[in-house]
Amino acid sequence: MGSKRVKVADISKDADKKLLELSRSDLAELPGVDEGDGKKEAFKDLTEKQRESYEHALDGVCAVQIPKPKTKEEEEQLVEKFLAGLSKLLSKEDNWTFYQQLMLTLENCVKCQTCNDACAIYLGSGKQDIYRPTFRSETLRKIVNKYLKKGGKTFAKFRGNDIELNWATIARLAELAYRCTICRRCHTFCPMGVDNGLITHELRKLFSEEMGIAAKELHQSGTVQQLKVGASTGISPLAFEDIIRFMEEEIEEKTGKKIKIPVDKKDADILLVHNSGEYISWLENPAAFAIIFEAVGLSWTLSSEAYGYEATNYGVWYDDVQFSRIALKQIEIARKLNVKKIVVGECGHATKALVVIADRILVDEMNFPRESALPLLEDLVCNGKLKLDPTKNDFPVTLHDPCNMVRLMGIVEPQRRVLRKICPQFREMTPKGVDNYCCGGGSGFAVMSPMNFQDWRVTVSGRMKVKQILDAFSDVTDPDIPKYVCAPCSNCKGQLRDLLAHYALTENQRIYYGGLVELIVNAMPDVKEPFIKWE
C-alpha cells in the first residue's frame, strides 16, 4: 500500500486540502523509462485560477470541472439533491436498470480487499488508498447505511458508518467516480460477486441523471452532441459524405485499388458502423475494412444518416437515459436501410453497449440482430476467404485486449486466431485475455483531457498498460525494429496514442499502435506498398 494513508472518513474533512499529493517516486516503477526527478509531482498542478474555480480536493486533478458553490446554502442544496438521487438509485422503480446488481454490491462486500490488486489504477499509483476500488464503494456504502437506512446514525462508528455527508464528501466523490475506468477487473477478483465498477457507473449516473453533473466530454460534447448532430465527434451527415469521398481517394492512392464505398445501400446484408473518431483520427481503419469487405465481395453498406455513422454510445458510462436514446437511434437507421444485421467495427464500448447491454431495452422490431466485426474478420482470414501473405507482417506484434469486448463480452479468441495466422512474431502481453489490464482510457477517459486530467490518465491510469507493452517487447528493444501494438478498439487507440507520446516510446523504441484490420490489409499480396506506414 502507499505510504500516505487516507481513511474513508477523511473524505469529509478539510474541504480545501487535497486528500492525496503524489510525487513521481510514489508511482509504480516503470523499468527502462526515465521519468526524471522522483521528487517532482506525479502530474502537473492546476493553475491558480483553476484551483479557485473548480473542485479538485480529491487529488488535485480536475476531471468533472464542478464549479465551487458560492454560498453555504448552495452547498446544502447540493447535498440535499445528492441524497434525493441516492434514494432513487436504491429504488427498484427509479433504478430498475441496475437495481439488483447494485443491491448485491452494496450488501455483499466482506472487506477482504482482494479486489484492490486487480485494479490497474491502484497498482499504477503505487497502491494509494484513494484509488482502491473499495475506497469509493465503501464511501457510498457508509453514506447509504448512515443517511438512508433506518437507525443508521445509531452507533454509526461502531457499525462502520463513520462518515459525514457534506459538500466536501460529494465533490470528492464526484471526482472519484472519474478515477475508475469501469474495466471491472476487480469484479472478476471478488469472491462475493461485488462489482466496484458498477458503483462507479451508478455514482456517475446519480450525478448526471439527478444533479446534471457529468464530464463535459461525455455529456455536452458527447451524447448531447451525438443526439443533436449525429455523432459525438460533431461530424454532420454532409461532412461524412465528404470524408467517404476522401477515403476512396486515399485507398486508391495508397493501394491502387479503386473502390466505391457503398453508402446508404438498401437491403444489404451488413450495416457496418464505426466509432466516428476513426474517420477523424485513424481513417486507415475504416478504409481497411472497406478494402477487406470489397475484396471478398460482401454485401455491406455504411450509413450517411445522422446516428448511422456513429457507433459510440458514451451513455453506457454515465447515464442510462442517454444510453437508451442513442441505442434506439442506431437501431432505427438499420431498420430504415432494411439490412440483415448491424456489425460494429473495432470499438469496444460501442460493441458492448449495442450488442449486450441494449439487449434489455429493445423490444418488437427494434430488437435487431447485431454483432461484433471480430468473428467476421476471423472467418475471412482463417477460412481462406482472403489471400494473405504473413511474411509482410514479419515484425513484433502484441495484442491489447479491449476490456469491453474481451472480459465483458467474452470475445477472446477471434482476434488472436487472426494474429497467429498473419503475424509470425505475434506475442501475448501478460496478463492477457479476460485478465488483461485496461489501457487506462476506458469509461471515456480516452476522450477526456480537461485541465490536468490527461496528465493523470497517462501517468497513473495507463501506467500498467505501458509496463505490459514494454514487457511484451523486452526481447526486441532495438529501436531499428518497428513494433506494433494491435488494439482493436478506438478508445484504446486514443489512450495508446497518448501513452506512447508521453513516454516517448515511438520516438525511442519505435513502438506503434493500430487496429487489427490494418494488419490484415498489410498482409494482402495485391497491396503493393505497405499499408502500415510506421509514422
Binding site: 427509479d94 448485491l104 458508518n161 439527478e210 437515459v321 440482430p369
Partner: protein, 293 residues
C-alpha cells in the same frame, strides 16, 4: 427463565425462516436489469450470427461453478491464499457442524440413545475444533493484517468473539454437561424435540440454555449475514444471465412493462414524469418543439 429461553429459541427459528424468505423473495422479485455480465473465457459472441446459436452454460456448468466456489472457496484460494487458509478451516468446520446438527436431530429420533456410537461425538468435536481454529485465525488476521483490518467495522470483531464463545459453549455443553456421552446427549435432544418432558423443557440446565440462547443470536443474524447473501451471487438472473431477449419471449414482456414505468430523475435533459419509453424515444429538444406548436 426457562420460558424466556424457549421463547427466544423458537422465536429465533421463526424469525430466521421468515426474514430469510422475505430477503430472498425481495431479491428474486427485483426488476429485470440491463445485461451487465463479465466472462471467464470465450462466449457465444465469438460466433457470427450468435443469436442463432444455442445459449451456452447449462445447469451442470452452473452447479459445478457454485460447488467449487462454496465448498472450496476457490476464489479466495486463487486470489488471497493467506486469508483463504483460516477461512477455509472455518468454512469446512461450519459445513461439518451444520451436518452434525442434522445428524443429531435425526439420530435422536431414529437411534436408540443407549446404542449410539461415539463417532457422532467425535464428528461434532472435530467440526467445532476446525471452526474454532479457523474463526480464531480469521479474527487474528482481521486484527493484525493491515489490509484485512481496513474498513472492517468494530461490530464484526464482536461477531467473531461471540462466535468463538458460542463454539466453546457448545463444546462445554457436550463435553462437561453431557459428560461426552452420546447416549445422554441424544436422549436429551430427543426429549427436547419430541416435547417429551415439558417440565424439563421449562427448566433447562444452564449449559444447554446458554447454548440455545447463543444459537438464537446466530439464527436472528443469519438473514443479515454474508452467508445468505453469497447465494444471491449465484442467482440465475444475476450471475449466469445468458438468456437472450427474443421477440415475443418472456424477457421482452418484462422489458415492455418496465419501459412503461415513469421516470423520476430530475436532471434538465430528462423529461421527468414521462415513461421510460417516451423519454428514450423523445429528446428534450423535440419535446420543447412540440410544446411550442
Amino acid at each position: 427463565m426457562g420460558v424466556i429461553v424457549l421463547i427466544v429459541f423458537y422465536g429465533s427459528i421463526i424469525f430466521c425462516v421468515i426474514a430469510s424468505s422475505v430477503k430472498i423473495a425481495r431479491f428474486a422479485s427485483a426488476p429485470l436489469h440491463l445485461k451487465w455480465e463479465y466472462y471467464r473465457g470465450s462466449t457465444a459472441y465469438e460466433a457470427i450470427d450468435w443469436w442463432t446459436k444455442e445459449p451456452p452454460a447449462g445447469a451442470a456448468h452452473k452447479l459445478k461453478s457454485i460447488l467449487l466456489d462454496v465448498l472450496f472457496l476457490r476464489e479466495y484460494f486463487q486470489r488471497n491464499r493467506s486469508y483463504w487458509f483460516y477461512l477455509y478451516l472455518f468454512h469446512v468446520g461450519t459445513y461439518l457442524l451444520i451436518l452434525w446438527h442434522v445428524w443429531l436431530f435425526a439420530a435422536s429420533v431414529v437411534v436408540d440413545p443407549d446404542t449410539a456410537s461415539r463417532i457422532g461425538l467425535v464428528w461434532g468435536h472435530v467440526s467445532t475444533g476446525l471452526m474454532f481454529v479457523g474463526g480464531l485465525g480469521v479474527l487474528m488476521k482481521r486484527t493484525f493484517d493491515e489490509e484485512l483490518a481496513l474498513y472492517y467495522p468494530p461490530i464484526h470483531y464482536l461477531k467473531w468473539v461471540l462466535l468463538l464463545v458460542t463454539l466453546l459453549g457448545g463444546f462445554y455443553a457436550v463435553y462437561y454437561h453431557f459428560e461426552d456421552k452420546a447416549s445422554e446427549l441424544l436422549a436429551y435432544v430427543q426429549t427436547q424435540i419430541t416435547f417429551g418432558d415439558l417440565e424439563h423443557k421449562l427448566h433447562p440446565p444452564f449449559a444447554s440454555a446458554a447454548h440455545a440462547v447463543l444459537a438464537s443470536v446466530w439464527l436472528i443474524y443469519f438473514p443479515f449475514s454474508h452467508i445468505l447473501r453469497l447465494f444471491f451471487r449465484y442467482y440465475h438472473e444475476l450471475r449466469f444471465d445468458e438468456v437472450p431477449n427474443v421477440p415475443g419471449g418472456p424477457i421482452e414482456a418484462r422489458i415492455k412493462m418496465l419501459l412503461g414505468q415513469k421516470v423520476s430523475w430530475s436532471a434538465p435533459h430528462i423529461q421527468k414524469g414521462k415513461t421510460w419509453a417516451e423519454v428514450a424515444t423523445q429528446l428534450p429538444q423535440d419535446a420543447s418543439k412540440e410544446a411550442r406548436k
